[in-house]
């Protein structure tokens, strides 16, 4: 159980929450994630990356996008309420060292998990070039936080409503073409964005790492639902990852598998929204 200490709407569908979780706050490292449930009996388990943590306060911060029933329900919980199931920190931490020049690419909600990694890379002495992107201005998150730890900062939107009108792959390509090539790229965002980041850096042979967010049940290696093909080997995102060499990941298979339950999830979410609407109407009539 973890109490919600702070809640903030970052954009229309993106919510930040600070949770009381002293043990996780003490152990967590950049790149790791938690699993939570909004109901102890019937809730589903969803993995969310830890966006930040504070050992002294004993808190962790999660940032999530409302995409289904569980994230929708979570977004409706308020400060003072308890998230009934919270477990972590799970997954392997990001390998942090002084690589030299690193490019941190974040797309949409992916900027949230990227933030602690960029921070750690900066602290390790790297030159950090940060590229963040979103569909439009409204969806750009953590701009100030990312900017403050970047040696060079590029923001772009798909529709040009803020920053450069570009996909993140364009500035990424330009950085790769510079005389001094990056030593490492880390890209976190929607699967399709990570796939194209991998394709962008491949010709330049720049080591590129991605953080995968697949379907999981337990998060400890027990179910195998999160499995991905990495270099023609089956890897479990929960215990072998979540970070992998982007040039070895079979993104097409991963993207297909993410849709395993799409139809049912969609139905469940809509049932939930309908129920909420009915309750609202019933409440109004009273």
């Amino acid at each position: 159980m973890a109490k919600i200490l702070h809640k903030e709407q970052l954009s229309e569908n993106v919510v930040l929450m600070k949770l009381d979780a002293p043990l996780i706050a003490e152990e967590r490292k950049a790149g790791q994630f938690i699993i939570l449930q909004v109901d102890d009996d019937y809730g589903e388990r969803i993995p969310l990356t830890i966006a930040d943590g504070n050992k002294e306060e004993g808190t962790i911060t999660i940032i999530f996008q409302i995409v289904g029933k569980t994230t929708d329900e979570l977004s409706r919980m308020n400060v003072g309420e308890d998230v009934p199931v919270l477990v972590g920190p799970l997954g392997k931490p990001t390998h942090i060292e002084n690589f030299g020049r690193v490019v941190c690419v974040g797309g949409g909600i992916g900027v949230a998990p990227l933030h602690p990694i960029a921070q750690a890379l900066k602290q390790a002495g790297n030159e950090v070039i940060t590229i963040i992107g979103a569909r439009n201005k409204e969806l750009v998150i953590l701009e100030e936080e990312m900017k403050s730890i970047a040696d060079e900062f590029i923001v772009c939107t798909d529709d040009g409503s803020y920053g450069r009108k570009a996909l993140v792959t364009q500035p990424l390509k330009e950085v790769c073409e510079r005389e001094k090539k990056p030593d490492m790229v880390i890209a976190i965002g929607p699967p399709i964005m990570m796939k194209f980041c991998a394709e962008t850096t491949r010709p330049y042979k720049v080591f590129t790492q991605v953080s995968l967010n697949t379907i999981m049940v337990d998060g400890t290696g027990m179910c195998g639902g999160c499995r991905v093909n990495v270099g023609n080997e089956i890897k479990f995102v929960c215990v072998d990852g979540p970070e992998f060499d982007a040039h070895l990941v079979d993104f097409d298979n991963m993207i297909a598998r993410l849709n395993s339950f799409k139809e049912i999830e969609h139905e469940k979410h809509h049932c939930y929204i309908d129920k909420l609407a009915e309750e609202k109407i019933a409440g109004g009539i009273k």
Partner: protein, 497 residues
């Protein structure tokens, strides 16, 4: 053996009971041998495939008394030596034979802590019932005294008649023991260590307790209520439970000992790392490990489709790969979740199947189709990446291999296509690496299982281990047996320190 109606079995038992009761103290061995086996009454197959309720209903008192009178109280008592925890079988059965149910359960509890669980899930035909003298008379294990059913009967009798006795706990010693995992071995360790007056905390990664008894074994074989009651007993004894706590991640094992003041630890984290076949198409949508499939249905309650948020794949035709109890559980669960056709694909014959005979029989009654001497070669998908069919190969049996079972040999060119939309892989589990990865210096074998000495101690002092993390995938009762041994060692260690 086909399904027998519960009422018919009951009537038969009543008649036999009325027949033997007047002369119960004069029964000779030859009279006892003549009493037929009391079959386990079960739910009708067409009804039970629509619910999650327990398939086996359990004996009535009369059925239990009749069955108990089949025991000839032979002097060899191989049932005792064949039991991993050495239950005094003839004594407890004799008590049942004379309607002394309380004495019967007290006898079992001298050595076994969780009889209502063992009575349900132990593979009795390969343990206590294997060398039963009565079975030997008929040269058939199936004719052995039904020890497991009798164990279950008295355990249930105790639960229903005023509840389970709470074991006494000795005065507090001030020592603390951490138990990692709330599965069968962990629960046994907790009980045995707590009884000596030590504080015990059980750490569980999931939000619910019971380990494999919760996420793996379905309710139709082992109802959650029974697991809950055993856990309740431990709570009443003062055992503390911490759920949502992954030792190795939330806190390292060494930190529990060095920073948090635990004097000893027991690792009972189970097998829990599903093995896949390594064949083409295994990552298609609609291919699941049995662990995932069963965890969704059991732990996450996906069987209750309207209530649970965890989705369950909608299957029409399912193939389960493997021949163990987990394969039986997965196939029978698929049927209950609405699959029209469920195949079990096993590359040897029925005789070599590791699953319990009873589970195989129940599966057959429920309409599961067995494809023996078959194995998957590859799984084929449609253009959207969903499973569409499977290519199978036929096998024949050759010479015995290292396991003593005849080795299956591929029949070249025997490939054929079977249309399926779901494939469940139930070929076993590797060892979960969480503890070994995060505990410096803990010794593991080449399969990643923790290495322990004859006292269940690992290579690190004060850390003990047992169950599947040591044995590889085994059974509930073997895990409990290891737990007992480990608890004894821990109690000795703490008494001497």
């Amino acid at each position: 053996m086909s399904h027998l109606n519960a009422n018919v079995l009951l009537e038969e038992a009543e008649n036999l009971y009325n027949d033997i009761l007047p002369r119960i103290n004069e029964l000779k061995v030859k009279d006892r041998i003549k009493i037929p086996v009391m079959e386990m009454p079960t739910q009708e197959p067409e009804i039970r495939i629509q619910n999650l309720d327990e398939v086996a209903i359990g004996y009535t008192e009369k059925q239990a008394i009749v069955e108990a009178n089949r025991c000839i109280q032979c002097p060899t008592q191989e049932c005792v030596s064949d039991c991993p925890v050495g239950i005094n079988v003839p004594v407890f059965i004799n008590h049942i034979a004379h309607s002394n149910f309380q004495l019967a359960i007290d006898t079992i509890k001298e050595t076994s802590l969780l009889p209502s669980i063992c009575g349900r899930v132990c593979p009795q035909e390969t343990q206590c019932q294997l060398h039963c003298s009565v079975g030997k008379v008929f040269k058939s294990v199936e004719k052995s005294v039904s020890i497991g059913r009798l164990e279950r009967f008295v355990a249930d009798w105790e639960r229903k008649s005023g509840g389970v006795k709470i074991p006494t706990v000795k005065p507090a010693t001030g020592k603390k023991v951490a138990v990692v995992g709330s599965g069968p071995s962990g629960l046994v360790v907790a009980a045995d260590v707590r009884r000596e007056g030590h504080e015990v905390t059980i750490f569980e990664a999931f939000h619910k307790l019971g380990g494999v008894m919760r996420y793996g074994i379905p309710e139709f074989r082992l109802p959650n209520d029974i697991v809950d009651e055993e856990i309740e007993t431990l709570k009443k004894m003062g055992v503390e439970f911490k759920t949502n706590f992954v030792v190795g991640k939330t806190r390292s094992l060494m930190d529990l000992l060095e920073k948090d003041g635990y004097d000893a630890a027991f690792v009972g984290t189970g097998a829990g790392l599903p093995i896949f076949m390594g064949i083409e198409g295994e990552n298609l949508i609609g291919v699941f490990s049995a662990n995932e499939y069963l965890t969704r249905a059991n732990l996450m309650r996906a069987f209750e489709k309207m209530k649970a948020d965890t989705p369950m794949y909608r299957s029409k035709v399912v193939a389960v790969l493997g021949g163990g109890n987990v394969a039986m559980d997965a196939s029978r669960m698929a049927k209950r979740l609405g699959a029209e056709k469920v195949y079990v694909v096993y590359r040897r014959t029925e005789k070599e199947m590791p699953a319990r005979v009873e589970e195989v029989a129940h599966a057959k009654e429920e309409g599961i189709e067995f494809l023996f001497l078959n194995n998957a070669k590859r799984i084929l998908g449609d253009e959207t990446g969903h499973v569409q069919s499977m290519e199978l190969l036929r096998y024949e049996l050759g010479e015995p291999d290292a396991s003593g079972r005849r080795k299956p040999i591929v029949i070249e060119g025997s490939e054929y296509i079977l249309e399926v939309d779901t494939v469940i892989v139930a070929i076993g589990n590797g060892s979960n690496p969480l503890i070994s990865q995060t505990t410096k210096g803990i010794a593991v074998n080449k399969w990643g299982n923790l290495i322990v000495d004859e006292n269940q101690k690992t290579s690190i002092d004060r850390i003990y281990a047992g169950g599947d993390i040591v044995l590889g995938a085994a059974t509930v009762i073997l895990a409990m047996g290891e737990g007992r041994k480990a608890a004894k060692s821990i109690n000795q260690l703490l008494a001497n320190s």
